[in-house]
């Protein structure tokens, strides 16, 4: 039956078996991921951008939802670890032929894939796959419905740590569509676990969960108040389809109330950094001056994303390897 997030993701010695959600992992594990990623940042800057940690392993990018950035950085991360990578764009193949998710999984397992990196439109999809995957096969969640996007949250934590050194004492504001955002849910869990002093969410009530406070955040509806004196501003992407379904009246009004401008940015701490998971809607979430300005760390987030994904892939494959060796002995 159902197991807790910790039971599903960690082995009996606390090593990472799957990476599905930040929930249940704890500060030590998150710090271990950040430290491991720190060691991988150098790899990208070498002339030969590869380490042989996952040589002979097959990693399948199982994307049921389209994505460019996340899929590409996972692919690069796996390749830099010397793994072989399969890219499967399932939305266009199997499901349209009526194949079930389990059948897709079984077929790939028959090809001896060692890891699934999964993106799916339904919350809980990565959990489902981890619960049904063969022994020795690791699962990494690359985004499931509104639930979690843990590698995005970790690369954001990595970026914050690079700029702010310590999480303790930080004030962080997350601005935008919290309700539909798996990124925000994972960020909130990671920030609170790493011990920041305050997580704020800033949004109109239509883009917030009914009981947002229960997520462990302070709720603001006024952008100026919400970002005042914060050290980190995380802007979320606003999906175009939010203009339908009576969630927002117009992009224009959204930008005038919640868009990040140079003038608004001045309300935050003078050293505040600006982040965005991408892709940016310029003129909707933020001005171009802010996106391209000196406080923006948006492109660094992308680079760090590769290091974080290398860290998580190598940790999961390492744990699964240990367990397979146990079986062999």
């Amino acid at each position: 039956m159902s197991r807790s997030n910790a039971e599903l993701q960690l082995d009996e010695s606390g090593r990472l078996l799957h990476f599905l959600t930040i929930d249940g992992l704890g500060r030590e594990m998150l710090t271990e991921i950040l430290d491991t990623a720190e060691g991988f940042t150098g790899v990208s800057e070498r002339t030969i951008k590869k380490v042989p940690l996952c040589r002979g392993k097959v990693v399948a990018n199982l994307f049921f939802e389209t994505s460019t950035r996340t899929r590409t950085t996972f692919e690069l991360a796996a390749k830099r670890l010397s793994a072989d990578v399969l890219n499967l764009n399932i939305s266009a193949s199997a499901t349209s032929k009526g194949e079930t998710l389990l059948d897709t999984l079984r077929n790939l397992e028959a090809m001896h894939v060692d890891m699934f990196i999964v993106r799916h439109a339904s919350s809980g999809a990565a959990h489902f796959i981890a619960q049904h995957a063969d022994r020795g096969v690791g699962v990494i969640n690359a985004g499931d419905g509104r639930h979690a996007h843990p590698t995005q949250a970790m690369l954001d934590m990595f970026t914050i740590r690079r700029h702010k050194q310590d999480f303790v004492g930080l004030r962080v504001a997350i601005v935008g569509d919290i309700l539909h955002s798996r990124v925000a849910r994972s960020q909130i869990l990671a920030l609170n676990s790493l011990g920041v002093s305050e997580v704020r969410v800033v949004a109109p009530r239509t883009l917030l969960p009914a009981d947002a406070r229960s997520l462990g955040v302070h709720v603001y509806h006024d952008m100026d108040e919400g970002i005042r004196d914060v050290d980190v501003i995380i802007m979320l992407r606003l999906q175009k389809e939010r203009m339908q379904g009576a969630l927002l009246p117009s992009e224009h009004e959204y930008f005038s109330l919640f868009g990040l401008t140079e003038k608004r940015l001045a309300l935050a701490d003078s050293e505040a950094i600006v982040m965005h998971p991408g892709p940016i809607n310029r003129g909707v979430e933020m001005d171009s001056q802010v996106a391209d300005g000196s406080r923006s760390v948006i492109l660094q987030q992308v680079s760090y994303g590769i290091a974080i994904r290398m860290a998580v892939i190598s940790m999961v494959i390492g744990t699964q390897n240990l367990h397979m060796q146990d079986v062999a002995v």
Binding site: D23, T100, H120, H132, G145, H147, P209, A210, S214
Partner: protein
């Protein structure tokens, strides 16, 4: 050739018949398929068979207000024969089936076909509910008079509540013309907005699209107002919120002609059970908070909610083998209806008579059918269970074709030993165990 009905005496059991305020150790005698007498048998009565019910409870056969039997149209999930056999093993002698079959129960032909199949299976009574609109389309009224003549006991739009309030009003009025009960599963589909979990803390954290409590309370308020306007008798099916239960308490005080039921799983589970994304907990309406669960328990105890049903929804394994939001909602619940209700007695939620009432005379009263009692002269539909025989639910061992239960591994407080339909033994635990 029809077999002659046996004359039976059920000896020494605790007879619990809430409709007659009976709760005592005594004998029960059956002749010609009907209840003959309680206590002393008439002098000339010689039973051809006796059942020793010492240390057992003898109560009216249960009436389940809602069991999806899947036939016709979804026989890969279940059939009338498979589910009625499962029903009697759980002490249920009357099943009420909603019209969301393929084809929909919106003609006398489909109604007749279903009743015929149930009679052929021979386990329990089947009372079909007719569709309130043709093909459940929410726009065109069905031929309700014809449905009633064909044997439908009520009309309902099942899982597709009427969005158009004018159609809802007309449907209530037309049904009331023929004295037909309108059963409503209260859900405002705009507010439920394809959600799959209670909108609250747990769904917020798990990122599951939520169904707000207001999806239920708005629909209850709307249809109570329409019932007052039309004078129709309505029944709310599968309430899930404490707020809707409070509205029902108010309606009862006001003397409104309205009743309600709740699915048994709503009285044991809550939103917290969704942690881990186990699709067996995916139900509609969704499992709400523990406060809602307690509010519903209280309403059942106080007879504000008059019936507990199984809301039985058997599925093939594939229907539950997907990420949570993509799975089909519902629980295979016939065999756990009685034991889970008795568990409420054990937990002090209500006394035994009240619990049995919610499964017998409660639903019978809602449907207006002369069942659910042990009054002499009534059909001898009887359930006998052993209140000392504890057992553990094993999903794979369910008799239902649907093995989808979230109660796998739960300890149940009692086991049905005999079920009689019109005085005929349709289930006996002994035979079942011998067969194994």
């Amino acid at each position: 050739m029809r077999k002659k009905k046996k004359d039976i005496s059920i000896l020494g059991g605790r007879v619990v018949d809430p409709a007659n305020n009976t709760n005592q150790i005594t004998d029960l005698h059956i002749a010609g398929g009907k209840i003959l007498a309680l206590g002393e048998a008439p002098e000339d009565f010689v039973p051809s068979e006796t059942i020793d019910a010492t240390d057992k409870v003898v109560c009216p056969g249960l009436i389940d207000l809602c069991a999806h039997l899947r036939e016709p149209g979804a026989e890969h999930k279940a059939t009338i024969a498979s589910e009625s056999a499962a029903a009697v093993s759980g002490g249920i002698t009357t099943l009420c089936c909603p019209p969301d079959t393929y084809p929909v129960i919106d003609t006398p032909a489909v109604t007749g076909q279903i009743r015929h199949k149930a009679r052929k299976a021979g386990y329990c009574r089947l009372l079909p509910q007719g569709a309130v609109t043709q093909d459940l389309d929410g726009e065109r009224l069905s031929e309700m008079a014809a449905l009633k003549s064909a044997g439908c006991v009520a009309v309902t739009n099942a899982y597709t509540p009427l969005a158009n309030t004018l159609v809802q009003r007309r449907a209530m009025e037309y049904a009331a013309t023929f004295g037909l009960l309108t059963i409503i599963r209260p859900e405002d589909q705009y507010l439920s907005n394809n959600g799959c979990a209670h909108e609250g803390k747990v769904a917020d954290r798990m990122g599951l699209p939520g169904i707000p409590e207001a999806a239920e309370t708005v629909a209850v308020a709307r249809d109570l107002a329409l019932a007052e306007t039309t004078g129709a008798v309505i029944h709310f099916h599968t309430l899930s919120s404490a707020s809707a239960a409070r509205t029902m308490a108010w309606a009862k005080r006001e003397g409104r002609r309205v009743s309600a039921d709740v699915a048994i799983h709503q009285l044991h589970l809550c939103e917290m059970d969704l942690e881990g994304f186990d699709s067996h907990f995916h139900v509609r309406p969704p499992l709400r908070t523990d406060t809602d669960r307690d509010g519903l328990r209280d309403a059942v105890a106080k007879d504000v909610i008059q019936a507990i049903c199984s809301d039985h929804q058997p599925h093939e394994p594939d229907a539950k083998a997907s990420p949570f939001p993509d799975t089909e909602p519902g629980i295979s619940g016939l065999e756990t209806l009685l034991p889970l209700t008795l568990k409420l007695v054990e937990q002090g939620v209500m006394d035994l008579s009240s619990a049995i009432a919610r499964l017998t005379c409660g639903p019978a009263g809602i449907l207006g059918v002369p069942l659910g009692t042990l009054t002499p002269g009534q059909a001898a539909d009887i359930c006998i269970y052993d209140p000392a025989q504890r057992w553990f639910v094993n999903a794979e061992k369910l008799l239902s074709q649907g093995k989808n239960t979230p109660f796998h591994g739960w300890e149940m407080p009692a086991k049905v030993t005999h079920t009689l339909l019109k005085g005929r033994l349709v289930y006996s635990l002994e035979n079942e165990e011998t067969a194994e």
